[in-house]
């Protein structure tokens, strides 16, 4: 994705939900996009898969290349053919993502019936297999159940089942575990990782949960106010963040070893996307703010290979080093880390 910009026409005015965003992902990689709500991460993923509501939304610039093709130039029918089959998406609220009037089996089966023209019988059998694969017990009988008969975690698994049914190349997971209980969260994430290995998926994980990002991602992009403020591989971002916002995020994350120490917060409030300041979007809340930050909009600066930051004082921030105490990252690790090299 290069220089993608998406605008929304709202009552308060034109909102630039995504502003000149460039991101890349290699096959088999996991990219985590982290940021607060309203940072533009969901809009970015919607732009990729093509479910942006146009109007009121509008893509005002940029390209999205998928396997060599610019998705934004494709005819709607071709775009639709890609969605679900080659790029799949799961989102936060599994319950409302599913149609409560149709069985889970129907909603998984329709992927096959629509994209491949399979029969009812064949697609239903495939649905049972998929439910099995996502570790839902009694798949054969549960395939005829309705969504409201599933628990929250199982609903999300069903959604995942539909998403991976056609073995897509890319899976976009937009806050997949935000609505789930903590214990269930871990199971679903583990499932996703297993499926990724098994099916060779590439994944974009949109999240505000930094631990999740750390456990799963190969590379991380940090978004703020519709812009990418920092991008790099996992160790770079977590080991030595080069943007005040990223550092702020890490500082604000509660940790086991904090004890009774007061939680840090990033001062100020979330930005009003309809009235962003000239210059750096984070400047109003940045403790290291200088005059130049208010005047100039920072461009991305390369700190190290593959590590960029959109801050005028990126190298200074980078020099602070890791915001976590030594060994803290290691001890928080759960699950396997997949080494794909760069």
């Amino acid at each position: 994705m290069s220089n993608l910009s998406v605008e929304f026409d709202t009552q308060e005015g034109i909102v630039k939900a995504v502003d000149d965003v460039s991101v890349s992902l290699n096959r088999g990689e996991v990219l985590a996009i982290v940021g607060e709500s309203g940072s533009g991460k969901s809009v970015t993923s919607q732009a990729i898969i093509g479910t942006l509501p146009i109007p009121p939304g509008q893509i005002t610039g940029g390209q999205i290349y998928f396997d060599g093709q610019n998705l934004l130039e494709l005819a709607p029918a071709k775009r639709r053919a890609i969605a679900g089959a080659r790029i799949a998406m799961i989102s936060q609220d599994a319950q409302s993502a599913l149609d409560s009037r149709f069985t889970v089996g129907y909603q998984i089966g329709e992927m096959f019936r629509h994209h491949r023209g399979w029969s009812w019988k064949k697609s239903r059998a495939a649905a049972v297999d998929l439910l099995d694969k996502v570790r839902i017990p009694n798949a054969a009988s549960r395939v005829n159940d309705y969504p409201h008969q599933f628990s929250g975690g199982m609903q999300q698994r069903a959604v995942i089942a539909a998403a991976i049914s056609l073995e897509p190349d890319l899976l976009i997971a937009d806050e997949p575990t935000t609505a789930l209980d903590v214990t269930v969260q871990a199971e679903v994430m583990r499932l996703l990782q297993d499926l990724k290995t098994e099916l060779g998926l590439s994944m974009i994980l949109v999240t505000h949960d930094l631990a999740q990002a750390y456990e799963t991602a190969d590379r991380v992009s940090v978004m703020y106010a519709g812009r990418i403020v920092e991008h790099g591989d996992r160790d770079q971002i977590f080991g030595s963040p080069a943007h005040p916002y990223t550092r702020g995020l890490f500082a604000a994350t509660p940790r086991m070893d904090q004890g009774d120490a007061e939680l840090m917060v990033i001062p100020g409030t979330t930005p009003n996307l309809a009235a962003l300041p000239q210059g750096c979007a984070f400047a109003p809340r940045c403790s290291n703010r200088q005059d130049s930050c208010v005047r100039e909009r920072p461009q991305a600066v390369t700190i190290a290979e593959g590590h960029t930051s959109a801050c005028l004082f990126a190298s200074d921030v980078h020099a602070f080093g890791s915001p976590f105490p030594k060994g803290a990252l290691d001890s928080e690790r759960v699950g396997e880390r997949h080494d794909h090299g760069t």
Partner: protein, 304 residues
């Protein structure tokens, strides 16, 4: 499910009883039927005699008692038509159901098509045209519409008969059913449109698009969801078609319950009015019950 049906049945009985008492109360204040049965020059003696023979000279509570007895015995005999009241009303029921049924059969598919079309292309020219068309349905007086249709299709073009039942053959049902259907379309099309628009705004539709589903498949999903409020409204529409056919039945001389009731009121035929109201109340209740059952079938959450 059975328990649900039983409790609904119990409610229904209460409603019917309440309707009865209401009919009796209203009937006793609409005025003396005797005045209408006799020429104005008739002497008081003659009037009193008629009044006595029909039991209208009794005090109100005795009349109410007679009313209960009459109801228990099948509603007595129609004062005006000199034939048992309940069978007379029931004999008109098929014609009204036929008319209401055909009207609904025209209205529902038309509303789904129009409402669906408008929902899929909001704010387009088609949407505006459909909107005006639906507005016509709820605004136009059915008396006028019926007569206009007769004027054009029966008198000028000679394609269809001007009225009557015609033994139930198709030519005779077309104009009355279309007249009634138009009003229903007015309500249902707009409702379908907004119900569908609501559905299209829901998250599961975005999921379907993310799954690459075609507009056709998405429509199947949304329409099934929107079906519940639409079915409920259609059922309500059915009840008002059955009971509101009075005007259309008069214009087309359609021998249904509506025209019978209208004439019974004009003739102050209390017994016939009572019988007709009873039958109509039961119909509404049955239709509502049917809606409830359909609702349960359509919405898995209610069913289970």
């Amino acid at each position: 499910m059975t328990w649900y049906l039983l409790s609904r049945a119990q409610q229904s009985v209460l409603v019917i009883l309440a309707a009865f008492v209401l009919v009796f109360v209203i009937g006793s204040v609409i005025g003396d039927p005797v005045d209408l049965m006799l020429p104005p020059e008739a002497s008081d003696a003659v009037r009193d005699q008629l009044r006595r023979s029909l039991g209208f000279d009794q005090p109100l509570h005795i009349q109410f008692l007679n009313f209960i007895i009459r109801v228990a015995n099948g509603f007595g005999e129609s004062i005006w038509q000199s034939t048992p009241a309940l069978p007379l009303v029931l004999s008109r029921l098929p014609a009204t159901l036929y008319l209401a049924g055909c009207a609904l059969l025209i209205a529902v598919p038309a509303s789904l098509a129009l409402g669906g079309w408008a929902a899929l292309r909001p704010s387009s020219m088609a949407d505006r045209v459909i909107n005006i068309f639906s507005l016509g349905g709820v605004s136009i007086v059915d008396f006028w519409l019926g007569l206009m249709l007769v004027l054009i299709f029966s008198v000028q073009l000679g394609w269809l008969p001007t009225g009557g039942y015609g033994g139930g053959s198709v030519a005779y049902i077309i104009l009355p059913a279309v007249t009634m259907a138009y009003r229903s379309i007015g309500r249902l099309a707009q409702f379908t449109r907004s119900a569908l628009l609501d559905e299209y705004a829901k998250p599961y539709v975005m999921t379907l698009r993310a799954k690459g589903m075609s507009e056709r498949r998405i429509f199947l999903h949304t329409i099934k969801n929107a079906a519940i409020p639409i079915v409920t409204l259609s059922g309500d529409e059915m009840a008002s078609l059955i009971n509101g056919a009075i005007v259309v039945e008069s214009v087309f001389s359609w021998p249904g319950i509506g025209s019978l009731l209208l004439q019974a009121i004009g003739q102050r035929d209390l017994f016939l009015i009572e019988a007709a109201v009873f039958v109509m109340t039961v119909i509404i209740i049955l239709v509502n019950l049917l809606i409830d059952i359909t609702y349960a079938y359509l919405d898995p959450k209610v069913r289970l």
